[in-house]
């Protein structure tokens, strides 16, 4: 290319090259995985995220003849046409999380000196779908095996276009449709769904990629008594599958005063996932998860697995004051009143005025919808301002930080 040639002449350098061997990135789920339905202006403003390493399949169509691009065919599925090739991934409507994740991963690989590869992006998400739609049992859910069929078909086409491509990760952003489920029920259903997806990938490629999970956030209106089982189950599922933990979604700013992140928030949560994934590629597990809590009288000490032992801090630039505020840093207790929330290194120390029976973080049951800003944006009801110290600078959104918030969690006194 002429511009690259001129660049080489001036710099005296050879352009960076992608390593051999294509990879496959699949992130499924509901609307949050389909991604922000960005306006043309927003997509244009964020055009700099387009990276040559991130690819989409060309030529696939739905039965109604509509070309299937990054965000998949949805419930309609594919027609018989095969993929004709691939091109640089460009979102035309929704900006899929798989796309944002892959863009960020390419940048973080470059920043950390990790080999960069061409990545094929797949997304088989359908808005509002239950976790039951993602397993292989046709009796589960209203869509039968549509999602599994789409997934398998896309994978076959990816392998036709790029023989030998290796699955890199299978991700899932799902749970908002299942907040009425209990944690055990969701854990069982999700384990079945993830297992079926990983089986499909392994059957076609011989490789079982790692799982990557996001933790479901709260709706802006979470006042109704719902167990939010997915939120707690996802922490167990991360451990069950030795998954990459992308982090909680409760910190996002919703654009619709409901549950859907605006585009900058999506880019940040996907970049955090990419950062955690890139660290895993370096052989370091930096999942930020709660450890074993220590109960002592009226005090509970909850350690978190921070990166390199970084301390926890209260977010000095919290957005919550502008959106209805936050009590006790998001910590709540049952059986007693919270009198103090302190941070001690990587631990949250909760003190109550009596022997509390339960402590939970970022799991408030509240309706915050009256606190939206003039543009209709708001934070969900699940809130907490405790983050890992020294957050990295965002590569996708210069000027922003990749604040890693501690996940929503709940602890019952033994």
């Amino acid at each position: 290319m002429r511009l690259q040639s001129l660049w080489s002449q001036m710099s005296g350098l050879a352009p960076a090259r992608l390593a051999a061997g294509a990879q496959i990135v699949i992130i499924d789920g509901q609307s949050l995985a389909l991604g922000c339905n960005a306006s043309p202006e927003e997509r244009r403003a964020h055009s700099h995220h387009a990276r040559a390493a991130v690819r989409q399949l060309d030529g696939l169509c739905r039965p109604d003849g509509v070309a299937v691009r990054l965000h998949g065919p949805g419930s309609l599925g594919y027609d018989a046409r095969h993929a004709t090739g691939h091109s640089a991934a460009v979102p035309l409507a929704n900006v899929p999380a798989a796309f944002s994740f892959s863009q960020a991963l390419d940048l973080w690989r470059r920043r950390l000196g990790i080999a960069r590869h061409r990545m094929f992006v797949g997304c088989h998400s359908i808005a509002g779908t239950s976790i039951h739609e993602f397993d292989r049992d046709p009796a589960h859910g209203r869509l039968g095996t549509t999602i599994r069929d789409n997934h398998a078909r896309w994978l076959q086409e990816a392998l036709r276009v790029a023989p030998g491509a290796r699955p890199l990760v299978y991700g899932m952003i799902q749970g908002e449709a299942n907040i009425a489920m209990s944690a055990p029920a969701y854990r069982a259903a999700a384990a079945r769904a993830y297992g079926d997806a990983l089986d499909d990938i392994e059957a076609l490629t011989g490789i079982r990629p790692p799982l990557m999970l996001w933790q479901t956030g709260g709706y802006v209106n979470a006042a109704a008594a719902r167990p939010y089982g997915p939120v707690l189950a996802q922490l167990d599922l991360v451990r069950d599958f030795d998954a990459i933990f992308a982090g909680p979604l409760y910190p996002v700013l919703t654009f619709d005063n409901a549950v859907h992140p605006d585009l900058p928030s999506q880019l940040i949560h996907c970049e955090i996932a990419a950062y955690v994934f890139a660290r895993r590629e370096q052989g370091r597990n930096v999942n930020l998860l709660p450890g074993r809590p220590v109960w002592q009288g009226n005090t509970l000490r909850i350690p978190f697995s921070t990166e390199d032992g970084k301390p926890l801090i209260f977010d000095p630039d919290s957005e919550y004051p502008a959106y209805g505020g936050l009590a006790d840093h998001g910590v709540e207790a049952a059986g007693a009143r919270v009198t103090d929330v302190a941070l001690d290194g990587n631990a949250v120390v909760v003190t109550c005025d009596g022997p509390m029976t339960r402590v939970q973080i970022a799991l408030q049951a509240a309706d915050m919808s009256a606190h939206a800003d003039a543009r209709g944006r708001n934070h969900g009801a699940h809130r907490c301002d405790i983050i890992e110290a020294d957050p990295p600078d965002s590569l996708l959104l210069p000027g922003r930080k990749l604040k890693r918030f501690i996940p929503s969690c709940r602890f019952q006194r033994p």
Partner: protein, 203 residues
């Protein structure tokens, strides 16, 4: 990022290779270390540019063609075109920004937003601004104190804006713009650092 250490500017090498393509061509501008704008203001750049070629002409012709110092900015005023392709390349070590706004390494027609092409940076990183305000950020590779070569190319015939990042990776974005003439080129507005070499190529 590939390391070229403290390799000095390469006057001559790039100029020779690029000269064949250049109609307006400022290369090299090997300025001594120090604030870029300060250097231009003190005239060190003016001296360095005595070796520059403008349309293959002699230094004396540069003045006649409209090359001048305007405060801290090196400005060329004239008319080239209508252009089919405009290419900007800068090999620079950025030390910072004057003030809190944006610094402009290279700009074509900055006074005409509908046909402006700018290679800019601020504290957050480098970007290319195309006609009509299309913005393409460059990947954040390195930062202040790192020597980098970056650039962009506006292909009016093909309808696309391309950028080349500090590691040589290129990206494109579609951009339909009617042909226009280059009337002004500015170098170094609000920049702090060293511009080792620059090229503005209008074809």
């Amino acid at each position: 990022m590939q390391d070229r250490g403290s390799q000095p500017g390469k006057p001559g090498a790039a100029a020779g290779a690029l000269a064949d393509l250049a109609s307006i061509h400022l290369d090299p501008c090997a300025a001594p270390p120090g604030p870029l704008s300060g250097l231009t203001a003190r005239g060190a750049w003016r001296a360095a540019l005595a070796e520059c070629a403008l349309a293959g002409g002699a230094p004396a012709r540069m003045t006649a063609e409209g090359l001048e110092m305007r405060g801290n900015i090196l400005r060329w005023t004239g008319r080239r075109g209508p252009a089919a392709r405009v290419t900007l390349l800068a090999d620079a070590t950025r030390h910072g920004v004057l003030g809190t706004g944006r610094a402009t390494l290279l700009a074509v027609n900055p006074h005409l937003p509908a046909c402006a092409l700018l290679l800019q940076y601020d504290r957050r990183g480098l970007r290319v601004i195309g006609p009509g305000g299309l913005q393409m950020l460059l990947a954040p590779i390195g930062g202040f104190g790192d020597r980098q070569t970056v650039g962009c190319e506006l292909d009016l015939a093909e309808g696309r804006l391309s950028v080349v990042e500090a590691d040589g990776e290129t990206r494109q974005s579609p951009l339909q713009v009617p042909a226009f003439a280059v009337e002004r080129v500015e170098i170094g507005r609000a920049c702090l650092g060293v511009l080792h070499a620059a090229a503005v190529i209008v074809e």
